[in-house]
Amino acid sequence: MSQLIKYYNSRLDTQKIAPTFEIIKNITMPNIEALEDVVVQTRRDILRMVHKVNSGHPGGSLGCTEFFVSLYHEMMELKDGFDMDGAGEDLFFLSNGHISPVFYSILARKGYFPIEELNTFRLIDSRLQGHPTTHEGLPGIRVASGSLGQGMSVAIGAALAKKLNNDNHLVYSLHGDGELQEGQNWEAIMYAAGNKVDNLISTIDRNGQQIDGPTAEVLPLGNLSEKFTAFGWDVLEIKDGNNLEEVIAGLQEAKSRTGKGKPICIIMNTVMGNGVDFMMHTHAWHGKAPNDDQLETALAQNPETLGDY
């Protein structure tokens, strides 16, 4: 027995280590221009991460960069340090775990772990696994994802715990559009409405792409807004999810609608591969890394701002 419990405890321990950093506060990012710089730098991080190991998912990551920057730098109320419980702060869950590159870059540059650690993405013995996990004790991650369709359920659980704890903070989650083909999402969607989980804001990355092609060809999702509405959610749309101001406005609108008896869904239209011309509007870069030449071209389109890792 001892071996197993040791194994398990060792994991728990790493999860409990509260890193001794301070979250870089929103005040350092006062305006859209400054945030744009973070966006561009995040793109560079994504590209360099996947290029280095010749694997990973740049397309969805690039499409969601503005969302992550808005969420972590403008929207979320975050405590200093990291603990698993996240009491007294907003929480975020990434359900479409394959876009870990953007998540890792944001977390690192927000202070959750050393920026240099981005160098270890997808390498053996790294905390930056191909898909995000708590298993290696990376601060900022609260549940593993990668097998699609599970994140909304987890986010609901965390939101229910907040209610039980009289913690007025919000829970955010992000989901791929193709991911919504997984039935577990609809279980969660039905549950959240039926149980008035109104401290939850779930955003759908509506890039219209998945691995085998456009969602419309693989399995049409139809009108997502109608579907969520029919399931009892309060739905709003972000027309251009790659426009920072629109994303922030959309998130703020969503936040203002919380606490009113309905979970909130944001249908966020994005362009897969956004910010790198040859990666845009196609599923081709869902899970493919650029080669050396392609990287150079891509980086040239996104000149260094905050400094590379």
Binding site: M1, Q3, L4, I5, Y7, Y8, N9, R11, L12, Q15, M84, D85, G86, A87, L91, F93, T133, T134, H135, R142, V143, A144, S145, G146, S147, Q150, G151, M152, S153, V154, A155, I156, G157, A158, A159, L160, A161, K162, L164, N165, D167, G183, Q184, E187, A188, M190, Y191, G194, N195
Partner: protein
């Protein structure tokens, strides 16, 4: 041979319900989840006393496992309960990623395990859940033998930090373990000392093993009986110590012989002390409708089957 007294037949799921009632009163972090099977899980009292700590998920077991994982983020200790089939096979990948790999402190509590579920038939009678759950790194797998032990196990797992699979059943069976016996996760219980053969049983088959041992004693065969309530982590020390003494072993479980307790013991022996073993288990078939007793007879899961297995294994010593 040591005598065990049936204090009155009762179902192990009621032991779970009684444990939940107690936890509801003693541990404010404990929350309960259920997927439209509240009555079958016997948690009505917990719900009545702690309505705000109960989550009715509806018929959506995958969502239940995810919500349970999420509730741990916020310090809750979720007991997610439904029938064993829907608590394991239906949601294996959800348990795997959101609970086991994520190291979440979720207790998966599964009633109506095995063939004694009875009349509902094979679609509900999972005979693979021990194997399913034992393969998950970090998962603790517990299958108590009676009402008292199920109640004690329910209390014990609330104090243990980490994912647990707790398996129990529907039929009323002998209740013979002491009501005040503390439950030690991972510690096998030696119920009877013997010298000729070791019987290692779990769940409903522990009582059957005791009956078999008594019958064997009358035939001059001295059987050691071990109640292996925790299948993972397996108390290999206890297994090896006994088999080194007796030289052979019969494993007994309400489960397919493939992938379950029996194979865990076979592996332990093969890697440390090869010895003859016989399996009392279902023989890689689905179950069927019938009363629990009829099914235990037909599928060879009773004291007679254990006795026969002992006689077979003794010949192979």
């Amino acid at each position: 041979m040591k005598k065990y007294i049936d204090q009155g037949k009762n179902d192990t799921r009621s032991g779970y319900g009684a444990g939940m009632t107690e936890l509801g009163r003693s541990n404010p972090n404990v929350v309960a989840l259920c997927a439209d099977l509240v009555g079958s899980l016997k948690i009505e009292t917990f719900i009545a006393e702690n309505p705000e700590r109960f989550f009715q998920i509806g018929i959506a077991e995958a969502n239940m496992m995810g919500i349970a994982a999420g509730l741990t983020i916020g310090g809750k200790i979720p007991f997610a309960s439904t029938f064993a089939n829907f608590a394991t096979g239906r949601v294996y990948d959800q348990i795997r990623q959101s609970i086991a790999y994520s190291g979440k402190n979720v207790k998966i509590c599964a009633s109506h395990a095995g063939i004694t579920l009875g009349e509902d038939g094979a679609t509900h009678q999972i005979l693979e859940d021990i194997g399913l759950m034992k393969m998950l790194p970090g998962m603790t797998v517990i299958n108590p033998c009676d009402y008292n032990q199920t109640k004690a196990a329910t209390l014990a797992i609330a104090d243990y930090e980490g994912p647990v699979y707790l398996r129990f059943g529907r039929p009323k069976v002998a209740n013979f373990t002491p009501a005040d016996q503390k439950f030690e996760i991972g510690k096998a219980l030696l119920l009877n000392e013997g010298t000729d053969v070791t019987i290692i049983a779990t769940g409903h088959l522990v009582w059957q093993a005791l009956i078999a041992a008594e019958n064997l004693e009358n035939k001059g065969i001295s059987a050691e009986v071990i109640n292996i309530h925790t299948i993972k982590p397996l108390d290999e020390e206890a297994v090896l110590k006994s088999v080194k003494k007796t030289g052979c072993v019969v494993s007994a479980e309400e489960h397919n012989y493939l992938g379950g307790l029996g194979e865990s013991i076979a592996r332990t022996l093969a890697t440390q002390h090869p010895a003859p073993q016989e399996f009392v288990a279902t023989q890689d078939t689905f179950g069927e409708s019938g009363t629990p007793d009829q099914l235990m007879d037909k599928y060879g899961l009773n004291n007679k089957a254990i006795e026969e297995a002992v006689l077979r294994v003794l010949k192979r010593k």
